[in-house]
Symmetry: C2
Subunit: 174 residues, 2 copies
Amino acid sequence: MKLTLLAVGRLKAGPERELVARYGARITASARPLGLSGPEMIEIAESRARREDDRRSEEARAIGSHLTRSTGSGSGNSGNRRLILFDERGKSLSSTGFADQIAAWRDDGVAATAFVIGGPDGLDLSLTQEAGLTLSFGRLTLPHQLVRVLVMEQIYRALTIIGRHPYHRAGHGD
Amino acid sequence: MKLTLLAVGRLKAGPERELVARYGARITASARPLGLSGPEMIEIAESRARREDDRRSEEARAIGSHLTRSTGSGSGNSGNRRLILFDERGKSLSSTGFADQIAAWRDDGVAATAFVIGGPDGLDLSLTQEAGLTLSFGRLTLPHQLVRVLVMEQIYRALTIIGRHPYHRAGHGD
């Protein structure tokens, strides 16, 4: 099962990008023995439309077309792929629950799972309706650059949980 | 009102420390016109006790003694200071709610508010009982180094909300 990170907005050079690269490298190193590959990382340009709604729907269309290219035809959970969105309005899940979901889809023969992070305007409702799961890091508003770091760390953590590596239980971020 | 960050564990040189420094500088630059000062940053050494409970209680004692030195005598919310803890078992609050709480304590003449972040073992129950507020970034487990970044960003965000700076509404982390 291929893991793809789809994020709206360009992550400038700096500490957030270093952290995304750190966890990306760890995911790559851990994925193969677990029957996973990736992460493929795709950045979607922020829309410049004047209205917030228009920006969100333009970004949703771009996300949809990248998903089709990256994970095969069909949209949303149709076909053989799954979407996990990160959004303030999403539900709260433990890291173990998140890992279990990824392992369950892998075991079901799902070909690709995409993790989708919106830009400053958040994600369009059409995407949240298509998604297999919408998760949140609580109600505190976070900058989307940091959300990208948190999602990558969480995917890495999930792989350590699936592979029974001590990282998660130790509580460390090392 | 003085703002103090108390965190268990040493943050090594690297991107997390750069991010803490970035938001620390922004907090310092924003604080004075709002009747605030800080952030003072205090690192508590991780306990090396063998049992997890012992580590937590040793760290809680160290936190208590630093609090007394930094924010005046008495413990917990006694005297003229408040504690906000960050812990997975905490409650979920919006960034606006978090900012309102800080502004309300400032307006009440509270002398110091301390933001407390545990180490890999989390925080001792004695501290959660003393705290004015225990907040969480959702149920997903996060590395404590990243929690430190998130807390600093959230304090900076609170100051922009109190000062009616556009940072929060824009949703950007720039």
